[in-house]
Symmetry: C2
Subunit: 322 residues, 2 copies
């Protein structure tokens, strides 16, 4: 595959497909690198669930808090400096406390619930929340219809948060299902964000749990296949390990090598560019053999500068000399 | 009216009619004085309202937190040592913050909402919450049907919390309405708590805003009239002033003297005993002329000992030598 000639101007519209922490980092790099309104993030909602009557959208919130600069710096969810006094009281009432809802975080869920009950869509609620927090990028839930990721494990079928948070992703996974996906539709905003984007970036999110739900929505995969040249994936696997979360463990449980090559193969029909970590440089020829442009770069994002470096490499892989 | 001979034993069942802070103090005195299961509190729900989708029951919560010993020691609502981080975040999202919802307090409203949505009655929800907090007295909302106190003021019609909290009870009141009262029924638990009680105590709550909603429920006033000898009211007016809240101001706005005598007249048909503060001792003959037994005592409750002293005086006024 021949590299396209670099474009002289910055892209006007970049769409990032994102899950949780990896998704937030991938989106944040683009957000910091380009004019902020350039960015649209399509976010997985398969992890969403109802908890004590509150609609929790963990991936939307992680991306939103990260772009707003108020995310917790280490734990991968929630807000910096949040407290847990409501949770403590919920525990006193005998309510479950394994899902760690912070006090400030609760405000998000209370308003989401309130606004959904008043007839707003999740897309409208998300837009109102992110604007209030000063986020200038558009955040789009992948769908306004409920999709619920369910994990088939050797201990039975588990709702995603039960598997991921309550059980610490320890049960052995046999299959993953997205309940409701047959009835769900991507929103018009999602489809137009895919159509209008000059570059589409797959954030380094879990392929099976975070991005597959988005890709499983009708029309999404077809659109990406047509735009394959403009689609770049950032590997969530570095040196055979997931930076965070169970991606590598899942690969082993599925009988696949825990490797960036497995990620590239997973996306081969819809991704034309691949960001490979320097620790995995030896895999470049095999990934290039999948008809992908490969950029080898340090993809581990610990600082804002790291995120911007990775975003720049992704955009360059798509042919933009940002 | 001839005093009845004192009973040798303690009453097995005492029912207190209560509103907010005065109600909580009145109930707490009985709770501390007698075996805790002796007490049933019937609580005003006219102040209840929905705030950001959460069902708030201020009087129920004030009584519950007080009997649990976790109420805020000064402010008259909320929990001791509570924080306001969720509220701060709600404000950041542009939501109203005039109703000061603490973080721990939010847990109560979140669970109330959740359990109501799952089909529990307010009576059942309240029972579950108070048990979890270790409260051994029964707390009964006056009704499971919605009753909403509306205040007609010279600035127009205001929902109760709008008048009381948001506007600081400053607008001049012309009339008070209990919206929904025609359709509301006292619960079977409330009726049986009135029927079974050996003593019924009116806590020193606002007669117009806190106790009148309870008294306006069908069947309540009739029951009290029949039991008048066993009903004792604690004056919420001391020296022409309300200890807390707008009771005295309302009397003036209604063209009535701001006085304990006005309270006694208000209750004359249904109350046979009256606790008058020492500062108002001169009113005793006029109240006795209403066919009430009057006990003059220091009714100002600042300490647990004060509450117990007042409760004992109320029970003695009803003929129990506790």
């Amino acid at each position: 595959m021949k590299p396209r000639p670099p474009s002289p101007a910055w892209p006007r519209q970049v769409t990032v497909l994102a899950g949780g922490v990896g998704g937030a980092k991938g989106a944040d790099g683009v957000y910091r690198l380009l004019p902020p309104h350039t960015l649209t993030v399509i976010v997985n909602t398969g992890d969403d669930f109802e908890h004590m009557g509150l609609p929790i959208s963990p991936d939307l919130d992680t991306v939103m808090y990260t772009l707003a600069g108020i995310q917790h710096p280490e734990q991968g969810w929630g807000l910096a400096g949040d407290t847990f006094h409501a949770l403590e009281m919920l525990g006193r009432y005998g309510a479950p406390t394994w899902f760690r809802l912070g006090d400030k975080d609760l405000a998000t869920h209370i308003l989401r619930r309130h606004w959904l009950d008043r007839g707003m869509t999740l897309t409208q609620v998300t837009d109102r929340l992110r604007r209030a927090l000063g986020v200038q990028a558009r955040l789009l839930p992948m769908s306004d219809d409920p999709v619920r990721t369910v994990v088939m494990t050797d201990e039975g079928e588990l709702p995603f948060q039960e598997y991921f948070v309550h059980r610490g992703a320890r049960p052995r996974v046999r299959a993953i299902r997205f309940r409701g996906i047959e009835m769900a539709r991507p929103t018009p905003e999602v489809l137009s964000a895919l159509d209008a984007a000059q570059v589409i970036i797959f954030a380094p999110s879990n392929p099976y749990l975070s991005l597959d739900p988005i890709l499983a929505l009708p029309g999404v995969r077809e659109r990406l296949r047509r735009r394959r040249e403009q689609v770049v994936a950032i590997s969530p696997i570095i040196g055979g390990q997931a930076v965070k979360g169970p991606a590598a463990k899942l690969m082993q449980e599925f009988g696949l090598p825990a490797s960036a090559l497995t990620v590239a193969r997973h996306y081969r029909e819809i991704v034309g560019g691949f960001l490979l970590d320097t620790r995995d440089a030896a895999l470049a020829p095999e990934i290039e053999a999948l008809d992908m442009r490969v950029t080898v770069v340090d993809t581990w994002m610990r600082s804002p500068e790291d995120k911007v470096r990775v975003a720049r490499a992704a955009l360059r892989t798509a042919g933009w000399m940002v």
